[in-house]
Structure formats: structure tokens, C-alpha cells
Amino acid sequence: MARVRTAVRPSEHLSVDDLLQMYYYMVLSRKLDERMWILNRQGKAPFHISGIGHEAIQVAQGFAIRKGHDWFFPHYRDIATCLILGVTPLQMLLALLGKEGDIFSRGRQMPEHFSYPEGKIVSLSSPVATQIPQAVGVALAARLRGTDEVVVVGFGEGSTSEGDFHEGLNWAGIYQLPVVFVCQNNQYAISVPVSKQMPVENVADRAEAYGMRGVIVDGNDVLACYDVMVEAVERARRGDGPTLVEAKTYRPVPHSSADDDRSYRSREEVEEWKRRDPILLFEKALAERGVLSEEKRQEVYAQVAQTVEEAVATALNAPYPPVSSANTGVYGPFDRVKRSRYSPDLIM
């Protein structure tokens, strides 16, 4: 499916350790995610939106950027990437439950609205595509400051219909900024299929209209994704301009815990894609390379299971944020504001 093959294949230079790390994060993300679904179904988590099936491109982008140096504006499905960049499973779960230790928002936002300044993961909101021009602004800032930071910004294919997508890519093209646009094209925006979303076959076909490279990659093949992402990131770093990467993938689960996908797609279609599950594919590739024994595989799963279960137990027992916390921090401290005795509209 990858129509553009990268000339260089950085994935060939990945060490066994790197490969196993990538594998570990794919499994960790998947198992954590599945556990979050269960917590939701048990009535313990009001909401969940899932990265299942999207782990290949997510892990690839996480390994392609310089952790803590490059910037990341996530798509809400990017659980795997965020784990790689430093968010812990426990932090994910505390956010899921809206508990005190939710580092993303302290219980203000719905789950999967990531924010992690240490990993330069910028706070995500719900209105889709708004992050795209913002990411371009960070890339412009990097250019103006002369740093070699790269910005990666994620979104779904549905989000490309918004004006924000157009305006953001237009700027990035004009100034040839160091930004990589990563579209996880999972064929649906909730129920709306790609054919009703856009008149072109591929999101990447639009890159040319913005004077930039477009690359299509098999979004379920982590090594192919890694090659494409490394190339795009390093081009951006070298000053060779932005890239629009389209990772073709699929969402084998409902859109979110509030969705029921049976009304808009067949079970056959879902099963068909499950056969190309990114973890399955990667296990096969690793086995072929002789990197993953069955024993090692089981070890990873066991380690992940333990990590996740410990985190779940802690998260369930964690307190909620104090009610008083919600009434703070609309504005930052600023001593040049006159505080009026009667004014209710300024919550610092």
C-alpha cells in the first residue's frame, strides 16, 4: 500500500534493543487501551477514545523525533506516542478517571486530551484541526529563533476538511517550515467514510497544493512508518521544508466509548482489517528477523500486564481533585491587574 517508498531505510539500522522497545510500546499501548475500555464498560470511566489499531504510526513517530527537543501536537488517539515521550500508564489512567494526578488537565478535560510540557506534548482540545495552525506557529518560532526543533502534528483524515487544515498547511508551505503533518487515515470520521469526506483518494494528494511533499505509508507497518517519519523529520530539521504524511490505517473499535459502529460498517470489513493488526504484523517481522522469540513475546506481555494492573489499582484508589481546584487558574498571576472587590469574572 505504501506508494512512496523511502530511498533510505533507517529502520534497517535499528538495534535489537530499539526494535524491542518499539514492540514493548505497541503492546503497552494496546493493553492499556483495552483496559481503559473495560473500565469504561464497568462504569468506572465516563469516557474513552482509543488508539487501538493505530499503534504502528504512533510508535513510529514517537521514535522518529528527538524526545523532549522536538514538539508534538497529538491526535487524540496518540496514546502510544505519548507513552514513548514520557507519559506513564498511571498518568493516562488518572486522566481517564479525572483523578487528582491527571497531569493533562487536573480533571478538567475528557481523557486523551494530552498535555505534557516535559515531553513538549502540547495541550490538546476537542475541536478537531485547531492544533494544525498552532503547530505551524511553533515551527515558525523555531525558525525565527534558529533552533533545529521539529514539530510533529497529528490528526485524522476527517479533520482535513476543516479550514484550519488548509490555513495551517498554506502557512507551512509559504515559509517552508520544519513541521511534519501526520494524518492517521483510518477511513472514517466517526461514521462518515473517506468518500464522503474528500474528493481525492489520498489525503497526501493534497500536499502539492501546499508546495510540500506528500507521502503515503502503510500505517499498520511500524517499520515503514518509521522510515517515512525519520525522513520527514530529518528533512524538516535540515530546512528542507514540511511533509504531509498519510498513514493508511483502520480503527477496529468504535469511534469512542460513546459510539456504536454497527450502523455504519460491516463486521466483515472490521475482521478483514484485524488480520492486518499492526502488532501481529510487527510480531511477524520481528520473528522473521529473529528478534522476537515466543518466550520474549510472553515476557513482554507479562511485563505489560503487570504494569497496567498496578497502575489501574493505584488510579482507582486515587482521590479526585479538590473541588476548590476547579475555581482557579483561568488567568495567570499578574500584578498589574486591579482586582475589584465585586468583580466575579476574574478567576486567578
Partner: protein, 328 residues
């Protein structure tokens, strides 16, 4: 008499309107086979087909912009914005375009259309799936803004909205979709735009509200009557723009005390306009200051259950404020 939920009232009325008026189209994200994320359009795609129930791209600006074009050509689109929180990409098309077509062309062009948007908190939606956005629209000349909160009112006002010659914002509180049930007569009726409804009679004080807080206000009023014998009159605005000042003023004449309650944050909320009008025109009738109870001035409702409860102006808070007013 059929008993329906608010959601059923919306859905059945949409079907009825489409049946009766071939110029009505439904368009929005996931309104087709999915039936809308709240199921407000369930079954309509199968019944009326893809030409009349249109799954749009994920692009609110053009949902409204294309809707305006359809209206210019004589269709009457009913555009669904999936969550009111996501109406703002379309704000320019609503404010500068839909609301101004008639005035700017001296009546040569107009855009009759309905924009439906589920709004409000209490659903663990966090900052971006809980917003009350009505005050951004009630300020705009050229729009009708409706926010009915019972099945009866939804049916009656949606029927009327579907005949209005100008754009109508139709806000549906999503927490009430399945929470509220009520009787809907089999016989056809309409409710005029701009007519408030006294949902509970009383003589000690007047409470003005709409949406979820309307139901909470009624609950609070009932409790207060039982517990302390204070009789509050509860006015359901139903229509936010234009305001039914006749009904409001008549009640103020009777009670001399007013409390306005809404879920949207206080400062600059729609309650301000209502309070300002009462304060200006009913000055001599007031026995107490016009009070407001509203969401706190934070950016919408937080997600964590205790924080969400903190935000929402529910019955307990309303009752406390009513008591304060009664005792003034």
C-alpha cells in the same frame, strides 16, 4: 397523548416536518446511517434517502455556508452541529452571513434555516462537550434563538421554527435528551416563537430559566414550597430571542422579586440582558435586587464528577439562592 422523551420529540418532529415539507433537508456530521451521535436523526436516512439526509464533511463552516446556499435556492436546511461547542468555526457564516442576509440586501434575500445544536453539561463532557453558547447568538440581530426543554415545547417550537423566514438557532440540552419525559398531544399544535411559559405558578418570587436549570428550578421551587411554604413562580423562557417581556414583567408585578438562573457562565450571559431590562423597566415594582445564579466564570464544565457538580447550578444551589431572595 403519547409520552415521549426530549430526544424522541426532536426525532419524531424532524420526521414529521420532512414528510410534510419537501424543501426540508437535514445535514450534518453523522446524521445519515449513524442517525446522529445522539440518535436525533435515527431512521431518517433510511426513510428519506441520502438526498434529504446528508452526511457532511467534518467542516462546520461549510455546513452552515452550504446550508445558506441551499436556503437561498428555496430549500429549508436543518443543519446539525454535533456539539454546540463546535459551532464556532461556523460563527462567521452565522453572524456575518446568515443573520445579515436580509438586512444587508434590504429584504431581497433571506435564509430561512434551522441550526440545531445539543448543548450543556452534566454528561461528563468536560470543557469541550458541555458548553452553553446561547449568549453569543442572542446578541445578534437577525437570529431567532430557541431553547425548549420539554417534549411538548420542543415539538411545538420546532414546528414553528420550520416556517420562520429567518435563521433559527435551536438549542437542545443534551443532558435532558433522555432524562425528561412528557406528554405530547396527538393533535397538531404549534407554539409561537417569543412566548414564555409559566411552568409553575407562585406569588412570592419569580424564577426565570431555561434548559436543565429550568427543571432544577422547578424541583427547587417544589421543595421550597413543601419545606418552607415559599411559593415561587417559575418561568420557562423557551424562546431566548426575542424575550417575552410581557410574561416576565407581569410576573415581576406580582412577586416583586426575581432570580434568573442559567448554566452558562455568569458574566455576559443572557441573564445579564434579562436582569438589565427588568432593572430598567420594572424599577418601581422591585422589592429586592434582581439576582442571578449561573455557572462560574470558568471556561465551561470540568470533567471530573465532583468538579462537574461544583460547576452546575442545580436544585440545591437554586434553592439556597431562592431562599436568600425570599428573605430579602
Amino acid at each position: 397523548m403519547a409520552v415521549k422523551t426530549n430526544l424522541e420529540a426532536v426525532r419524531d418532529t424532524l420526521a414529521e416536518l420532512m414528510e410534510r415539507d419537501p424543501s426540508i433537508l437535514i445535514m450534518g456530521e453523522d446524521v445519515g446511517p449513524r442517525g446522529g451521535v445522539f440518535q436525533a436523526t435515527r431512521g431518517l436516512f433510511d426513510r428519506f434517502g441520502p438526498d434529504r439526509v446528508i452526511d457532511t464533511p467534518l467542516a462546520e463552516l461549510s455546513i452552515i455556508g452550504v446550508g445558506i446556499g441551499l436556503a437561498l435556492h428555496g430549500f429549508r436546511p436543518i443543519c446539525e452541529i454535533q456539539f454546540a461547542d463546535f459551532i464556532f468555526p461556523a460563527f462567521n457564516q452565522i453572524l456575518n452571513e446568515a443573520a445579515r442576509y436580509r438586512y444587508r440586501s434590504n429584504g431581497a434575500w433571506s435564509v430561512p434555516m434551522i441550526i440545531r445544536a445539543p448543548y450543556g453539561g452534566g454528561v461528563s463532557g468536560g470543557l469541550y462537550h458541555s458548553q452553553s453558547v446561547e449568549a453569543f447568538f442572542t446578541h445578534i440581530p437577525g437570529l431567532y434563538v430557541l431553547a425548549p426543554s420539554t417534549p411538548y415545547d420542543i415539538v411545538g417550537l420546532l414546528r414553528t421554527a420550520a416556517q420562520a423566514p429567518d435563521p433559527v438557532l435551536f438549542f437542545e440540552h443534551k443532558r435532558l435528551y433522555n432524562l425528561v419525559k412528557g406528554e405530547v398531544p396527538e393533535t397538531y399544535y404549534e407554539i409561537p416563537i417569543g412566548e414564555a411559559d409559566i411552568k409553575r405558578e407562585g406569588s412570592d418570587l419569580t424564577v426565570i430559566s431555561y434548559g436543565l436549570t429550568l427543571h432544577e428550578a422547578i424541583k427547587a421551587a417544589d421543595q421550597l414550597a413543601t419545606e418552607e411554604g415559599i411559593q415561587a413562580e417559575v418561568i420557562d423562557l423557551r424562546t431566548l430571542k426575542p424575550l417575552d417581556m410581557d410574561t416576565i414583567f407581569a410576573s415581576v408585578e406580582k412577586t416583586g422579586k426575581v432570580l434568573i438562573v442559567h448554566e452558562d457562565n455568569l458574566t455576559g450571559g443572557w441573564g445579564a440582558e434579562i436582569a438589565a431590562r427588568i432593572a430598567e423597566q420594572m424599577f418601581e415594582w422591585l422589592d429586592a435586587p434582581v439576582m442571578r445564579l449561573a455557572g462560574p466564570d470558568v471556561p465551561a464544565v470540568p470533567y471530573a464528577p465532583p468538579l462537574e457538580r461544583w460547576f452546575m447550578p442545580l436544585a440545591d444551589k437554586i434553592k439556597a439562592k431562592m431562599r436568600e431572595l425570599a428573605e430579602y
